[in-house]
């Protein structure tokens, strides 16, 4: 199935009218044809989405972020960085192919807050937030692709093993990927390999405070050392300098 994107005019109109269209974000079906009254609102691209592609629907048990990351990344594995940063693509998917998924995962009805906050919520999840750096991990569809993109390791038996580590808790994904050092190509994988290496009974790096401690450590080092110079294993070693300390402390407290 050929993949479309929003026309710039359609994107502009939808972004401008979020407040006026809030009620439409509760509709069961995508409403863009009615919104644009028969005029062309999307464009062909040279990209393809498999005809059978669909998102797994979140339920009370799980958001299925991992499975949806896996499906979306495999479907669009060859996106270039510029293509992957294009709001027209992700806003299109949020409002069409991913509409039912978005309704479940990022329900607007259940959002508690002022009308202004609700507008901002829709903007951040269905479009791009003004901070373009964070937009790719906030948009409801783009974030799925980005999580897989930064953690995919094709040489593993399960190439999404580190994606699974990242998505254990949403806080970890956000803590890591909203920091500028997460753009060091090898760093997210190195962090996840270290998280994986510690059994939770020794050191639970999925714990918010522990993980933040490690992120602060990496941030401090990154202020002096150019992290891009280090290999994956060297980055792991650097992270373990801190996690070993945390484990010793945890052990001492338990004793």
């Amino acid at each position: 199935m050929g993949l479309h994107i929003l026309r710039e005019s359609a994107l502009s109109q939808l972004r401008s009218n979020i407040a006026g269209n809030i009620a439409k974000y509760s509709l069961a079906d995508s409403w863009l044809n009615e919104e644009f009254r028969g005029s062309r609102w999307s464009l062909d691209t040279h990209l393809e989405l498999p005809g059978h592609f669909e998102f797994m629907m979140p339920d009370e048990n799980s958001s299925y972020d991992l499975e949806n990351s896996r499906r979306l990344f495999l479907a669009l594995k060859d996106l270039t960085p510029v293509q992957a940063a294009d709001e027209r693509l992700w806003a299109y998917l949020s409002h069409t192919v991913g509409w039912s998924y978005m309704r479940k995962r990022w329900d607007v009805d259940g959002f508690r807050g002022s009308a202004e906050k609700r507008t901002q919520y829709i903007r951040d999840r269905y479009f791009f937030m003004p901070n373009r750096d964070r937009a790719l991990v906030r948009n409801g569809i783009a974030r799925l692709w980005t999580y897989a993109y930064v953690t995919y390791e094709k040489q593993r038996e399960n190439p999404f093993e580190l994606t699974e580590m990242l998505l254990q808790k949403l806080d970890i994904a956000q803590q890591l990927l909203e920091r500028s050092f997460s753009r060091v190509p090898e760093l997210p994988r190195a962090v996840m390999r270290v998280v994986q290496a510690y059994p939770k009974n020794q050191l639970d790096l999925t714990d918010r405070d522990q993980f933040r401690d490690v992120m602060r450590h990496v941030n401090r080092i990154g202020g002096v050392t150019i992290l891009d110079m280090l290999s994956g294993s060297e980055l792991e070693q650097l992270i373990r300098e801190r996690t070993d300390t945390l484990r010793s402390r945890a052990k001492a407290s338990a004793a």
Binding site: E8, G20, V224, I226, D228
Partner: protein
Amino acid sequence: MKISYRSYPHPVLSYFSDDLVKCAFQATVTADTTQSYFRLHVACLLSNRDIRAFIESGRAAYALHIECSATRFRRMTLSQEPNFSYDIPASAVQGVVDVCVIVCATEHIENYKNSHFHADYGETRFSVSKGDVLAVAEDRTFLADNERDQLRRIPSIFEVARTTEPDAAAMDVDLMGNKITIQLRSEDYDRYSSLVPAAHLESVIASLVAVPVLVEAIESIRSSEDADQEYGNYRWYRVIKSKLKSDGIDLASGEFPTTTVALTQKLLDQPVSQALQTIELIAEEE
């Protein structure tokens, strides 16, 4: 990555400190653009003999660090030579690209001593780890503007959109996107849409709709502390900057030779003159 003023645990040759004296590290970076890549040419000038010796022995290297926050692209390339080039795929960057040139250690250096250390350091020696900065030149940015839309072609910097908000102003503007969005109330948008096909009215419509919006955009640029940082990720800004540059106007300098109104008329090819001519013709025909 921007390397702004900071204190390092060891002396670093930089433009913002006197850790090392009577020496300097400078670098120029220029960019050539093709359809498929941006080629950065780096020329370094390092007047510190001790750091040069580390580079020549392979214990340190010149490094070019590139980062584009909009696309999350980040790379570093090393060179043992002071003049080198690096190609960035056009598919990897868009908008503001931060570039910095540094000298960093490629291996651990124990007992680092430099004959140009500030006297305050005395005989102190330092431990330097692999990846640590030894010298840093001033940061710079370049704007990566892909001529080709990586997904589709974008012909214009303006987009007119209908706003359905009940209390909306007759016209408003949104600068936070790749195009400048002109927001019109529903009934005015319908009128605009019906008038657009009338080619002879193009300058009149431009004067009414595009001119005030472009004035707003340029005033926003002028009043910004760092327009490249604030708007560099948006294509409309890069187009305007490029057009002004070809007329010898440097946005970054903050010095504009004319008023914003005059500048806008120039950018849009004098729509007010054309509009008045059109209106004159219409009046004559009546």
